[in-house]
């Protein structure tokens, strides 16, 4: 696709919603590419769906209950084994509250 469609999306606003920091190059590239994709989505505008129920799952199941039985949980060690920083069996995070 040589020419890109105009893109109504505010990339800075949406990438902040998605909590993804983009480089300047990525912002420009995505602006063009996502404009094309949104243009492609325009096909959906023509579909007549008056009175049609939405499908969230192909075979929906409702009220799936689990037996109320205690199970062996992860140990603390297992639960935090993949944390990027931990200390004294706790996950270390950047400072949240100012001094």
């Amino acid at each position: 696709m040589s020419e890109s469609a105009p893109n109504p999306m505010d990339i800075d606003y949406v990438s902040n919603l998605a909590r993804i920091e983009l480089t300047k190059e990525e912002r420009e590239k995505f602006h063009h590419q996502l404009g094309d994709v949104l243009q492609y989505f325009e096909k959906l505008k023509e579909v007549e769906v008056e009175g049609v129920e939405p499908t969230a799952h192909a075979f929906p199941r409702f009220n799936v209950w689990d037996e109320d039985i205690a199970k062996d949980p992860f140990s603390v060690k297992q639960a935090i084994q993949n944390a990027p920083q931990s200390r004294n069996s706790q996950i270390v995070v950047p400072k949240v509250v100012e001094d």
């Binding site: 949406v14 919603l17 993804i20 983009l22 492609y40 579909v47 769906v49 129920e53 199941r61 990027p84």
Partner: protein, 489 residues
């Protein structure tokens, strides 16, 4: 028996050799390790191996057999795993930098079932990052090459799983399919790949991409092998609330029964422009074969076909943006060293940890769900999804299965589509609608191009009718066995 001989066998043949004491599980495991050593520097299907663990499992299987305690036909047979399915104590990267140090603390349900069946769980297989892609070019650890032509992609996202079977690095592998990620790479690599009905196989322990579409499924050389692996991993699981409470038939037994005359539907929308001539010819021959067996062939119509790709990309990206929020740089992913505070730790860790396509899809998904756009995109797509399901329901009133090409072209070259997302998305045009409708579908090798590239046909079945689907596929496969042809590598 030579290594080349061992690794060319199907899982059913290996199982037979084990029970006849012609081979031990350790000999099988050793043969595959040597094959991987020999070919994987070129193919690059594997992201991780744990040879000691692999051989120890094989040895445990041999011990069970010596004691007369084998756990079933898969006991002692290697199964390699797409790197999105949790195996306790093994890495799970999802081919992403953000999970480069992650070790799974538990087994996925499919792994628990395979271990209970005595299968020898092998290495971790490459994919497009978080299963987002159709070529395995989006892996943070480098692409997998198609064993039939190293200049071409193996398909995706389960490209490592399809290439490993084609290159005889594993007799069986598991992949996952959200919009074609099992069937399209199976087609491009000349092996069998099955996407089960949504809810037949537990998703517990699968790194989620789009939860309402994802299913785990098997790769193999033959439909017979796929039936065996599928019956082992299927079944209701209380740990997955979308898992469907239904009995699992013995597919491997069902495909041996004689097949009554069936009706196969050819959707006219799938046979239009854009199909490669050689693909078209191979599919025509497949249709003629079914006709020669006495099955009825009818043209059908699925008028919503051209809406499937846009509906899919609205729904799948919305679900992905929500699912991938868990990769936050706090709990179990790598954290950016540039993060300064509790807010930008997320954005910086994700900006550094995710690859381009994952960022693109998360942003697109967040947009489709954002205030002011939800009704126009997400809700509209969900309603259109209902129309797609209704189309299939109507067609299945008159046919048993639907036959189509799996992909419009054979394997394409590296870089051919990687800078044009829509062109890449369209390589899944024949597979995507079945995920939206939740239906079972599979790809079976049905020939080669003049240049020697594999071609696959897709059969789509009715919900929870895997027995019928596999039986119809087996009727073709056992007479042709294109998946048993090995590339010259």
């Amino acid at each position: 028996m030579s290594n080349a001989n061992i690794v060319s066998k199907t899982a059913v043949e290996l199982s037979h050799s084990l029970s006849e004491k012609e081979l031990s599980s350790q000999e099988i495991a050793q043969a595959y390790l040597e094959q991987i050593d020999r070919v994987d520097p070129q193919v690059h299907a594997f992201l991780h191996r744990d040879d000691n663990d692999f051989l120890a499992q094989a040895s445990a299987s041999d011990k069970r057999r010596a004691e007369g305690n084998i756990l079933g036909p898969l006991d002692g047979i290697p199964v390699a795993i797409k790197d999105v399915i949790s195996v306790q104590g093994q890495p799970l990267t999802a081919a992403s930098k953000i999970l480069e140090n992650y070790i799974s603390p538990y087994d996925a349900t499919v792994i628990r079932k395979l271990k209970a069946a005595g299968a020898v769980i092998g290495g971790r297989l490459n994919l497009d990052e978080f299963a987002m892609g159709s070529s395995t070019e989006n892996s943070a650890y480098g692409p997998t090459r198609n064993p039939w032509d190293f200049n071409r992609v193996p398909g995706g996202s389960s490209g490592g799983s399809s290439a490993a079977v084609a290159a005889r690095e594993a007799p069986l592998t598991l992949g996952s399919d959200t919009g074609g990620s099992i069937r399209q790479p199976a087609s491009l690599c000349g092996v069998v790949g099955v996407k089960p009905t949504y809810g037949m196989v537990s998703r517990y322990g699968l790194a989620a991409f789009a939860s309402s579409l994802d299913q785990i499924g098997p790769f193999s050389q033959t439909v017979e092998d796929a039936a065996l692996l599928l019956e082992t991993i299927s079944g209701h699981d209380p740990l997955d609330s979308t898992s469907y409470p239904t009995e699992v038939p013995q597919y491997s037994a069902a495909i041996g029964n004689s097949l009554p005359p069936c009706t196969l539907g050819l959707p006219k929308e799938f046979f239009g422009e854009g199909i490669d001539d050689e693909v078209r010819k191979a599919i025509d021959q497949t249709i003629e074969f079914y006709r020669s067996l006495g099955h009825k062939i009818v043209e059908v119509s699925l008028p919503t076909t051209d809406l499937a790709v846009p509906v899919y990309y609205v729904i799948a990206t919305a679900e992905a943006s929500s699912n991938l929020a868990r990769y936050d740089g706090i709990r179990y992913t790598s954290r950016s060293e540039q993060s300064e505070n509790a807010i930008n730790v997320y954005a910086k860790s994700r900006g550094e940890g995710f690859g381009e396509e994952v960022k693109r899809r998360c942003i697109l998904g967040a947009y489709g769900l954002s205030s002011g756009y939800y009704d126009a995109y997400y809700l509209k797509a969900q309603k259109t999804r209902t129309l797609i399901r209704e189309d299939f329901n109507r067609v299945f009133e008159e046919v048993d299965v639907i036959l189509t090409p799996t992909a419009p072209t054979p394997a394409f070259k590296f870089g051919e589509k990687s800078n044009d997302p829509i062109s890449m998305y369209l390589s899944d045009i024949f597979t995507i609608s079945t995920n939206l409708a939740g239906l079972p579908a599979l790809s079976v090798p049905c020939g080669f191009t003049q240049a020697g590239l594999p071609i696959g046909m897709q059969l789509i079945g009715q919900a929870f009718e895997e027995s019928n689907l596999l039986s119809i596929a087996h009727a073709y496969d056992r007479e042709h066995l294109f998946g048993c042809k090995s590339p010259n590598i």
